[in-house]
């Protein structure tokens, strides 16, 4: 059996509902990947713990609440601390342009804004997640 790409979809912070993340999850599934949802209201530590247990290739973080600058870089930091720095972190949701370079500098591999074509997102996961 070929290696399957596994992606953890997480929504740190207190976002209620997030259709964007759901649409992306379905697109990844339709591309043959396994998408795992974490629970709601997860801290960066919780997300990393889940990523390790699920042995995912990538974590997709989505935020609508503007908490991304505080939370997303922390996920990258905790991953490294737990010896799982090889797990890719990408971000989606509503993120101001000014924040994108800062997030990338903090180790977020890609940032997908609301207008990103699904095919681009799928292609990114395919090529980056070994």
């Amino acid at each position: 059996m070929a290696k399957k790409i596994r992606v953890l979809m997480a929504k740190p912070g207190l976002d209620g509902h997030d259709r964007g993340a759901k649409v992306v999850a379905r697109a990844l599934r339709d591309a043959g990947m396994e998408v795992i949802y974490t629970g709601l209201r997860q801290s960066p530590e919780d997300i990393v713990e889940a990523a390790i247990q699920e042995d995912v290739d990538a974590i997709g973080l989505s935020s609508l609440s503007g908490a991304h600058m505080a939370l997303f870089p922390e996920v990258v930091k905790v991953l490294k601390k737990r010896g799982a720095g090889d797990i890719l972190v990408v971000a989606g949701g509503i993120i101001p342009d000014d924040d994108i370079p800062k997030l990338k500098k903090a180790g977020i591999k890609a940032v997908f804004g609301p207008g990103t074509p699904l095919a681009d997102i799928v292609a990114f996961f395919r090529s980056s997640a070994k």
Binding site: M1, G39, E54
Partner: protein
């Protein structure tokens, strides 16, 4: 193997990776499984089955906390179906099991069926072994109650918990065939919705003692956290019953028998998916079509000359 040593030391990252190796049928998986096998057999394996949305994940979430208070290490393997069209899956059980966060005594793994029929993945019970070797005491296996899966889970777990929700009397009469024979514990969840009492007594009336164990019916509300202690006690009681009366050994034999058959089937399938063997196989198929031989005799000949993969 290094990864096996790490798992035996309790390394969660290694355990996560080893489960993936098994799922992907990676080259090292067979050797690793052989190496951990002597370190398994301690954990109590509890299967959960029941219709979609009945509250299995929510109940397991509550039970994790209850058993953590009782100082047991808890693992979960939660299985969801793979899409037959795309090979992908969305695995959502974890959404309801997020109360435990970073508790070092908990390990939850979501798993897609990857084309295996019967609501379980081929790798499900190998993942259970990895968790067992990791030092987990109690392992819950969640499967969607569809088709063959109840029977499958019941023949592999030590204890099978069948979860239902309140229904009218007639619906209880119409419970899926076989469901009354496979459970060691029955749960009527969502008692907060009402109608649970009559559902529970109807169920209780229909259940019979098997080999000295009468399956209890436990009423719970995973939403309100009610009946969770009683369910945990019932699970422990069944464990003591199995250990005390020889039932443990019997279930282990059932499981070993099943896994041995499955391993043999798998080896045979692999032998014939091998390219050169495939050619020989196709030649025989042709011979059967033109009536030079018949399927049963040809099978005998093929098996006699079989070269197993290394």
């Amino acid at each position: 193997m290094k990864i096996v040593e790490q798992v035996l030391k309790g390394d969660k990252r290694a355990a996560g990776k080893l489960i993936s190796m098994i799922e992907d049928d990676d080259a090292g998986a067979t050797e690793a499984l052989a190496a951990i096998y002597p370190h398994t057999g301690k954990a109590h394996v509890v299967g959960f089955t029941g219709p979609p949305g009945v509250g299995k994940s929510s109940l397991i979430n509550r039970l994790i906390r209850e058993f953590r208070v009782r100082d047991r290490k808890v693992g979960v393997v939660a299985v969801d179906p793979t899409s037959p069209f795309t090979g992908g899956a969305v695995l959502g059980d974890r959404i309801r099991m997020s109360d435990t966060g970073t508790d070092p005594g908990v390990f939850i793994r979501s798993m897609a069926t990857r084309g295996h029929s019967g609501g379980l993945a081929l790798a499900t019970f190998d993942a259970v072994k990895v968790l067992d070797a990791l030092g987990i005491d109690l392992i819950f296996v969640e499967t969607v109650g569809a088709g063959q899966s109840e029977i499958d889970i019941a023949s592999r777990a030590h204890t099978t918990v069948v979860v239902q929700m309140p229904q009218s009397g007639d619906a209880v009469q119409a419970l899926k065939a076989g469901i009354l024979e496979i459970g060691d514990i029955y749960v009527v969840n969502k008692t907060d919705l009402g109608g649970a009492d009559s559902m529970a007594s109807n169920l209780d009336f229909m259940l019979e003692e098997r080999q000295g164990w009468r399956p209890p019916v436990v009423q719970t509300s995973a939403l309100e956290g009610k009946g969770i202690k009683e369910l945990a006690d019932a699970i422990n009681k069944h464990y003591r019953y199995l250990k005390g009366g020889g039932g443990w050994r019997r279930r282990e034999s059932d499981r070993a028998r099943k896994e041995l058959y499955e391993s043999m089937k798998r080896l045979l399938a692999e032998a014939y998916s091998d390219e050169t063997e495939g050619v020989a196989f196709e030649e025989v198929v042709g011979a059967i079509v033109v009536r030079k031989t018949d399927p049963r005799s040809a099978a005998k000949t093929l098996l006699r000359d079989l070269k197993l993969p290394k």
